[in-house]
Symmetry: C2
Subunit: 332 residues, 2 copies
DNA sequence: ACTGATTGTGCAAGCGGTTGCACGACATGG
DNA sequence: CCATGTCGTGCAACCGCTTGCACAATCAGT
């Protein structure tokens, strides 16, 4: 049916192995022969069958990106999408394909299959999948975790942004701007990255600790915030775990008649395009998701190429982008 | 190195072809033999090499999803992400993998390679890739366009939501609520889906036509809206091309001292989680992206299974979700 | 009991490439 | 001028699985 390497060889008057070598540049070939082969390929519109090539060469030419998504939200979140974009870019530059797979429903099965059935040469995993059981089977295989795993933190191979340091930036900024009583709003407290952000918050909040976890929705953030803000000595500064929490908080402030940034200061995590279009625009802790994806992919490809490269941990730092939601003149 | 089908066959005391048949259920096999084979597979922790399997069987077991993204935004947009989630779900249910690839930089090359190198059994394409040249090569191959192509609209195979009807809903809703002068804000007018939305707007706006295209950013929407709103007889109803436009418009209204929904009514396209958390919450035209992805994937798999299934066009309808941004009592 | 259909399994030829080994041709050095 | 290298290409095995064909064994029908 399709045109094979044999057809090309026949037309070019050489052996198929020569054609293979021309394609892969794996040996010294006369310019004359090369020309004949190229001409034949052109004429027949030859495209090597990547399946056959993979089988013979032992590498699939693809990497797998596992997502842990029970619902569409995780797929849709900016963090994942933007990282994925960067990952795909790195992969394409190296002639690799990206297979995405949802690992949520199938506890590890998907991941192991991708690996054991030779479908991918390497894997990018979400932190939740890092468990001793899985690591035992996957340990020898090229993988990188995108995020900090809760367990096996110092053994696993991962790339993450520094959530703890990000939260520190946020708290310091609020204090500098003259806010006195700082709370942390949003996020499921059990989640790894929330825990680390909370830790960064605690370290710098000067002994105070007011952590207000939610179920992750804007709605609950609003409810929780409203309750807190109705108390007499409510906080005047908030670090929000994400944009949803910030939106809920904004709504709560409106309904309580509190003004931002005069009465309340707000810093939110994540660089969300719309965070600049709230009223007022939100000061944010910027997570460079593109860089994150890029670094993760680069590390993975390094490990695919050279299996001796051991596990390493890369921590990228976050930066603060000040906007109007904390624009209070200090110590008024 | 890895355990092969031969190893299993040897241990089970049968021929490798029997093992193959057991795995694929392609023939009648004694229960006894089956049991032996399963036991051997278990004992050796056998995983069939999908590469070899694909080569022999002629199908890769993967579908490709092409994204047309110059920047990360397209990847990050809800539309794409949520559809992708649904597509992956359908694929996983059928034992297929999903390969994503950015087709933006490489005009068609990526797409053709995916197909011609037998890397995928089918493709989901963005509307922008539908060109006669590409269709000539891809026409015989199972594909579905996610969105309405501008050219070859009636020949190509696609699934889309009804943007025209969605815009009609929006305009009718505004008129019913007593808004009189309706404008369309946002979107690059050249883009296919924007064009169709504008058409739906025009049909129902009762002869008036005020279309305000932008470069797609919230910033420009804000600038454009501010200018329009400063005129004496400015519009009192807006259909926004997306949430970014709506956010820009909200900001413009604030700065002009116009109140929503009393002075201005707003309907925005797309079901964005935060659209409920603006001030006031936005009335939206809900595009069911999950359904869109699902239908697209299902159609693709039907075509993969049965190559005689011709090109078809599926149009899903949009629904309106009324919220406070249009909550004006009619004819006050 | 004999023939023909059915069932269960083995054999071996692919699927379309890659790659170690071999070998002839030509260049180089003593 | 012969021994020794290097270069360019062909040969054939192999990657691990699928599948058409063959064949022995079992079963049903008359």
């Amino acid at each position: 049916m399709a045109v094979t390497i044999q057809d090309v060889a026949r037309l070019a008057g050489v052996n198929s192995s020569t054609v293979s070598r021309v394609i892969n540049g794996k040996a010294t070939i006369t310019d004359e022969t090369k020309a004949k082969v190229y001409a034949a390929m052109q004429e027949l519109d030859y495209h090597p069958n990547s399946l056959a090539r993979s089988l013979a060469s032992g590498s699939s030419g693809a990497i797998g990106v596992i997502v842990d998504a029970r619902d569409a939200e995780a797929f849709a979140n900016e963090f994942f999408s933007r990282s994925l974009f960067a990952i795909e870019k790195e992969a394409q530059a190296r002639g690799y394909h990206v297979i995405i797979a949802n690992g949520a429903q199938s506890r590890g099965e998907t991941i192991e299959n991708l690996m054991k059935e030779h479908k991918v040469d390497g894997l990018i995993l979400p932190p939740t999948t890092v468990r001793p059981a899985l690591m035992k089977t996957i340990g020898q295989f090229p993988y990188v975790v995108l995020g900090t795993p809760d367990t096996m933190r110092s053994e696993a191979c991962w790339v993450d942004n520094n959530n703890e340091q990000g939260a520190e930036l946020a708290v310091k900024h609020l204090l500098e701007r003259g806010y006195l009583k700082i709370a942390y709003l949003g996020g499921r407290e059990k989640r790894g990255f929330t825990k680390r952000r909370v830790r960064g918050y605690e370290k710098n909040a000067g002994g105070q600790r007011m952590v207000l976890p939610t179920d992750g929705t804007a709605e609950e953030a609003c409810t929780v915030a409203r309750e807190i803000l109705s108390a007499a000595d409510h906080p005047d500064g908030f670090v929000c775990n994400d944009n949803l929490a910030a939106f809920g908080l904004l709504k709560a402030c409106r309904s309580c008649g509190l003004r931002i940034p005069d009465d309340i200061g707000i810093v939110a995590f994540d660089n969300y395009p719309l965070a600049e279009y709230t009223d007022p625009p939100l000061t944010i802790v910027d997570i460079d998701t593109a860089m994150l994806g890029e670094q993760t992919a680069q590390l993975l490809f390094r490990r695919i190429k050279d299996s001796r490269i051991g596990n390493q941990q890369i921590m990228l730092s976050a930066t603060l982008v000040a906007r109007a939601s904390t624009e209070r003149v200090a110590n008024v």
